[in-house]
């Protein structure tokens, strides 16, 4: 690899890292604003115009709060927990293709940090690592509420990863590849996977809600039963990291859903656009549209949060094991049969 390529990749990594952090930051603001709109309120509007500086104020507050490590907590693991949570949340974006290749002069810039041939498996691996942050943090706190929250998080994530994986298998039968770049390329213009895999998409969506611990699956941190859930004992920026990780996860899972099912950076009439406004212009439009789709999904996450109440724990397990997994398996079988019939 040439030096120029390494520099370009490095810049890309920094940009994506910054974008995920800024989006996570402003997701907290958006969540509060959207919650307010859904409840006929106005929401934060004091810090800066329309309250736009609210995330900075919140962040500053988080940094300045007193940091407390409980006496009986395992102090090393207590710090490892949130670090792991935020780290796994940040590295998930490495394999997501943000756009087609940009051509500047003789240079071709790939808008993807790493085009590895097992992209989906990488995402799954990172997502399942994320639960360690919650588990370790909850256990190290030496608090029964934290421990219960952590156990819930672990069992919930493990249960829903199964149906998530199964819903992906049906998609892989169609695409025939694990590389996210190739999956994105296959959905050229309007051939989005959601058209051929609607059931798989709904399963994936439900599991994504469960994986990111969002309502109606936010049992690991349900205030009514577990005080604060796994982060009961956390304060200051360590708490901030947990909350931040949740929002980055939401962003990443929205990006994965857009890439896998909603056509990534593809849009109808993209060839026509490329012929009229130039290749690079079309690529940039694609990137913009990808982010627009991601924001729509983030909005949907929030919309659902302010609509549906939380599941009871047994209902959660029932839904995961008795409903989603059978539907996912049936989806695989049906997809397989249809593909065999078409290819005969």
């Amino acid at each position: 690899m040439e030096l120029a390529d390494i520099i370009v990749k490095f810049i890309l990594v920094v940009i994506i890292f910054a974008i995920s952090l800024v989006i996570a930051m402003y997701s907290t603001y958006a969540e509060r604003k959207i919650a307010a709109f859904f409840q006929d309120r106005i929401g934060p509007n004091r810090a800066g115009p329309w309250g736009l500086l609210q995330p900075l104020a919140d962040g500053g507050k988080m940094f300045l709060k007193e940091e407390i490590i409980p006496t009986n907590a395992s102090s090393f693991l207590f710090i490892v927990g949130p670090s792991l949570a935020i780290m796994t949340a940040c590295i998930g974006s490495a394999v997501i293709p943000w756009g087609q290749k940009l051509t500047i002069g003789a240079h071709v810039i790939d808008l993807q940090v790493a085009d590895i041939n097992v992209g989906i498996l990488y995402v799954f691996g990172v997502v399942s690592l994320g639960v360690y942050g919650v588990m370790i943090g909850g256990w190290a706190s030496n608090n029964k509420y934290s421990l219960l929250g952590a156990i819930r998080a672990a069992s919930q994530n493990i249960s829903y990863e199964i149906s998530m994986g199964l819903s992906i298998i049906a998609l892989l039968l169609i695409t025939g590849t694990l590389s996210l770049r190739q999956i994105a390329e296959q959905q050229h213009s309007w051939h989005w996977n959601v058209l051929s895999q609607p059931v798989g998409f709904i399963l994936f969506l439900i599991c994504a809600f469960a994986e990111t611990n969002r309502t109606p699956f936010d049992l690991p941190e349900c205030e009514t039963e577990l005080v604060g859930g796994y982060h009961t004992e956390y304060s200051s920026m360590k708490l901030g990291f947990y909350l931040f990780a949740e929002y980055i996860n939401m962003f990443i899972s929205s990006a994965v859903m857009v890439t896998l099912y909603w056509g990534a950076y593809n849009y109808p009439f993209m060839d026509w656009m490329a012929a009229h406004i130039g290749t690079n212009g079309a690529v940039i439009l694609g990137v913009t549209l990808m982010f627009a789709k991601i924001f729509l999904f983030i909005f949907f996450f929030m919309w659902v949060r302010w609509t549906i109440p939380r599941f009871r724990y047994d209902q959660l397990m029932d839904l995961g094991w008795k409903i989603l997994i059978p539907i996912a398996i049936a989806n695989i079988v049906v997809t397989g049969i249809v593909i065999t019939l078409i290819n005969r």
């Binding site: 709109f37 859904f38 106005i42 919309w303 659902v304 302010w306 549906i308």
Partner: protein, 165 residues
């Protein structure tokens, strides 16, 4: 027994049908309802920039009135303090000196007039008791403050602004 209202509803425990158990249609319905609220005008009133309209007979902060010539009406008779159920009003009377006729209407006036806003219950009995039409609860909501002593309002805050300053 005869039903007292039309709100009686017979509880039926019939099992949910397939679409109800599928839960997703119900979620879609719920999302539609919340989306309706998303575009509704917020009910928030951004106090203190924006204020809710008060009713005609709203009783807020007291003000000591002046007459049409700008003289203070209060004559320090003490009937307001006497009528006050919360014992929030205290005053000290003084005699009008020659040359102060343009300031005070009667020969006697209140040199000190204090209302403890933390004690006041805004019942309006002082207003009713006043024979000189000198006190009215026609002001705003009493603003918040940090110290108890700052809630004892003296004449500087209570007396109306002069007509011709």
């Amino acid at each position: 027994m005869e039903p007292l209202s039309n709100k009686r509803k017979v509880v039926d425990n019939k099992p949910l049908n397939f679409w109800e158990r599928a839960y997703l249609p119900a979620i879609a319905q719920g999302l539609a309802i919340t989306m309706k609220h998303f575009f509704r005008k917020p009910v928030t009133i951004s106090y203190p920039e924006e204020k809710r309209e008060f009713s005609e007979n709203f009783r807020g902060m007291h003000s000591l009135k002046r007459d049409e010539n700008g003289k203070e009406r209060c004559t320090a008779c003490g009937l307001c303090a006497l009528s006050c159920p919360a014992e929030a009003i205290t005053m000290t009377a003084a005699e009008r000196q020659p040359g102060e006729e343009n300031l005070y209407r009667e020969e006697k006036y209140a040199a000190v007039y204090e209302i403890n806003m933390l004690r006041c219950i805004f019942c309006g009995l002082c207003e009713e008791a006043c024979p000189k039409e000198a006190i009215y609860l026609d002001g705003d909501i009493v603003p918040s403050d940090y110290l108890r002593k700052d809630f004892i309002y003296g004449k500087d805050k209570l007396v109306e602004a002069p007509l011709n300053p």
